[in-house]
Symmetry: D2
Subunit: 347 residues, 4 copies
Amino acid sequence: MHMIRAAVAGASGYAGGELLRLLLAHPDVEIGTVSAGGNAGTRLGELQPHLLPLADRVLAETTVENLAGHDVVFLALPHGHSAEIAAQLGEDVLVVDCGADHRLADADDWEKWYGGPHSPNWPYGLPELPGGRDALRGTRRVAVPGCYPTVSSLALAPALVAGLVEREVVITAVSGTSGAGKSPKPHLLGSEVMGSLSVYGVGGAHRHTPEIAQNLSHATGGPVAVSFTPVLAPLPRGILASCSAALAADVDPAGAADAARAVYEKAYADEPFVHLLPVGQWPTTGAVLGSNAVTLQVAVDVAARRLVVAAVVDNLAKGTAGAAVQCMNIALGLPETAGLPLTGVAP
Amino acid sequence: MHMIRAAVAGASGYAGGELLRLLLAHPDVEIGTVSAGGNAGTRLGELQPHLLPLADRVLAETTVENLAGHDVVFLALPHGHSAEIAAQLGEDVLVVDCGADHRLADADDWEKWYGGPHSPNWPYGLPELPGGRDALRGTRRVAVPGCYPTVSSLALAPALVAGLVEREVVITAVSGTSGAGKSPKPHLLGSEVMGSLSVYGVGGAHRHTPEIAQNLSHATGGPVAVSFTPVLAPLPRGILASCSAALAADVDPAGAADAARAVYEKAYADEPFVHLLPVGQWPTTGAVLGSNAVTLQVAVDVAARRLVVAAVVDNLAKGTAGAAVQCMNIALGLPETAGLPLTGVAP
Amino acid sequence: MHMIRAAVAGASGYAGGELLRLLLAHPDVEIGTVSAGGNAGTRLGELQPHLLPLADRVLAETTVENLAGHDVVFLALPHGHSAEIAAQLGEDVLVVDCGADHRLADADDWEKWYGGPHSPNWPYGLPELPGGRDALRGTRRVAVPGCYPTVSSLALAPALVAGLVEREVVITAVSGTSGAGKSPKPHLLGSEVMGSLSVYGVGGAHRHTPEIAQNLSHATGGPVAVSFTPVLAPLPRGILASCSAALAADVDPAGAADAARAVYEKAYADEPFVHLLPVGQWPTTGAVLGSNAVTLQVAVDVAARRLVVAAVVDNLAKGTAGAAVQCMNIALGLPETAGLPLTGVAP
Amino acid sequence: MHMIRAAVAGASGYAGGELLRLLLAHPDVEIGTVSAGGNAGTRLGELQPHLLPLADRVLAETTVENLAGHDVVFLALPHGHSAEIAAQLGEDVLVVDCGADHRLADADDWEKWYGGPHSPNWPYGLPELPGGRDALRGTRRVAVPGCYPTVSSLALAPALVAGLVEREVVITAVSGTSGAGKSPKPHLLGSEVMGSLSVYGVGGAHRHTPEIAQNLSHATGGPVAVSFTPVLAPLPRGILASCSAALAADVDPAGAADAARAVYEKAYADEPFVHLLPVGQWPTTGAVLGSNAVTLQVAVDVAARRLVVAAVVDNLAKGTAGAAVQCMNIALGLPETAGLPLTGVAP
């Protein structure tokens, strides 16, 4: 087949860099335009020194002209920028948006959490959710999920769908710092984050909360209350989500562990990237560093009558850029796993 | 006044080292015997190079003979070792046990979580809990709390006591590695923990769970269900606990934030070491590194109808050795804050 | 062509894990036996959870029987174990030894630095040294270099060969912890290494010193004095070597920077994995994490009359396992870069 | 005695925060004005949350008016700002400058390395150098040394003074990130520094080079050539300096180790803060975290004929703020160790 020509807008940031890292290893893709905003004109090697094969590429400006003429355009831009660009790229071009603009279906949610005019939502790039894969086949627009919603939704959807737990979930997700981006802010300095844990967006104030609620509600056909607390930890990459919910009233706690295991085994039996770990093994983010895998484990706290699911993801890989490539594969009819590592880089 | 003569058993470990660091700065204490098990006979400077003023001390063996003749004996030993030693030290000696042996009041709990014969519980070293301080005045036996129970109990007790929340709490606590001790195990290697987050003791399997439940139940006079999940993060010291509970049925979510703030302000108004942060400021473990402070913040998630409390502690300081010194101060009638830093070492 | 069948002995350690990670991505290799010593019988997924595609493999015991019948056998064993195994594997099997046993040509050096009987040295697996590649073509025995010697030798050889500097070099190399292996020791605990820098093997006491001296002396045809100091830093992977030597007496400091640049450009112009960075850009280990690249930069300190070369390597990749695969490629006549990433995983 | 009233200008930065941490524990000091530039008007608790006892202080603007009326004024300002302020504070006020403005005696050096008009140098705040303490007694102006010069000069001066080594020294110093300050820059982001080592100022380009040369030349009465290479490592605090020099021609390598040990033992025998470690023990920065100590160790590489000295310092404590307080103590006739921790915070 002919090579798919891909452009990456926002190539100087972390999501853009990870997209290029993955696309470099993709057997069916050749990398066309790499563009940026303020960093246009700079050698990529200066900003992304790990992308040695692209070191001499010079960043173009992010304009419709520079992005035109590709089979697929990946957008890794601040929110609010993708709708206008996408509109001008033409309907036959696959546009994969790593930003938030096209994730939320509800205009009120958008208004409340992001503000500004609401763009219609695009097919949502989490194929492992019920019905998720079908919505992506052949599409020319993809909204890549947020990193926290990816891992949280995959951790909780099967139990909710199966009716194992009540529709009120509690999530504390611990994240590395790259999710906060490359724009320098004092609280993201190495001196501040190393040796320290901090918490933010507490009390349901993080923008990923409505996205998680949307995913879980959509999967189960009814409202799900989400309590979400993000924690920042001293590592560059990786999210570990500690998720729980009360067992449904009609579930016997004594048998719930086996039931939960069966539910998750079935839900992800055929998924190439989502893995229920063997009994006794717990997920670590280090094991999925650089990989497109999500690993998870389930437990039942009989005394507290709660199901607890722990799940990990590399926020830049399956949490952003890996999902973007996976969705491109599905949308274009390529093998879904093409170019996507299942092996982490450890230690 | 005469100087208080203190012995530290288990001086080659992390808790023992932190005890010595704090005691070196205590104006009323002189350090007598420092002892160890397998490390007896070694220069302390080799094992605890940060304790320069004690570098030439040689570790004695942990025996009753070596620990006798002190006003206070701090025990930082593996569990199961303190009862026998304490019995032989005499009732007039203050014995402060940093281990778990004398924390649990319920023999069945002990049997289930630790195994072996149950020792009677001692006055519990968390003065900031309701009634906690009174139980410590004049005592000659103190059970220092576990690090997770300290921060979790302080985070949740006021809301439970005030009836703001339901008696089912969910805690995910992220911890540095020093809580796991100095005994080398593969999963605690720097290569394994740096750059990775892991989860353990999931589903109510961690031994600190019954201790948290005991504290909260005792404070509120009735059973409290505790779902507790610990996460290991790449930093040496510090715990950040993300705690939440559903608002009580009769609490109006709209006014709950103010109500919660008032409750916590009142609960800790006179506490020297527990600080409710100003509105808008969230706790970070880095700010309490090396200090005896606990800082916390409260929020209400109106949509999810939950109170969320985030709290931090240095697991070795207020989480273990600082609490031990604080309890010694109370037990012996010294100023409670003597020798205890309120200032963290940051960045 | 038919797939090359590879065995990895020592598959539960860090070098073994990295070999498997790279071999999984190698287009011409299929992975046969994976073996271990004490960990034989264990699921690989338990010990190397990042190798998801091999999670269900069970480690065989490291015996000649289990390793027989492969085209290539990689040995990642404690030193002293490879000679006997290699002898029994047959001369037609490619044996790539990641240990030290066959690196040193001089029996006295071996005796002094390692002790025990000296095995004859094998072709040395650093193709980028003068004459290095030729020695590897068609060989059936390869001694993979140590991690420090790899980066130090590549940093200094061109200047020495060109006569730019005196034959006395000073190297301080800062390393992550994985080079020290997976065997748990107190000073390698996360609690010890995070937030701390330490130094070891000072004064020429590190075993890699004679290997560096051998490489540089061999390249230049005469003795080179090596002062080598390793520093341990809080990161899992990566070595940054700060290398310097006095400018030769006949070199004009004013023109030395240009001369040095020309020498290094020429030395590595055709090398796929060794890259002289553009003027003004300095190497960082993060940029080569997981990749087989070495990047370096040169400077002349006119006032001190010294050439300074800074170079970085991933100690597990090009520093060990990547070099092993690269040498396999050369020995078997495969494309030298097959299966070897040139792109790092950052941030 | 009456309390000494101290002001700190630049209190929102890392050096300013460390000054306040130390002054809070000083028995003879009360903290007056705390001031800042752009952060004036902000609660200190927001910017330096670890300084709990000062949390409600509001930062004043850094003006002469606000700094007047104190016994001692600590300046932690960007370079170029201290001369004018000091001139207006009066000659009877002790001004301790943590910046570079008054460190260099040579106007040409200043012009070359910093640019702008040269201010006369002030008594240099490294009392442990030959003659250093005398110059500080009773002074009302102190130039606090740079962090790298402190540890490098203490590591090398004794050997140079004793004539053990040639007057050409090579230093590679590995540092945590706090030395680069709190002003956010992309390369100092946590995502960039964690898991990575980088090098900068290579080839004699770092501004601390002439300061080290000045110290060593002054101590020995003749020029010393300094090759200095700084490396940035993933930890907030601490510098480890790997320093070496060729043994002098008339020194017998066989006896040099004992000779060197004797020289350093004598040089630092009476120093409260500089400690030669026992034979066999090597310095780690973790052991001096938060303390005012410098620990060092010496070795002789007989084969390479070089003396190697490794030394560590906390760059913010003895490397900046601790030295400032120590110099205040000397200048004002207080006990030199007052308020200065000798104990590190580990692990």
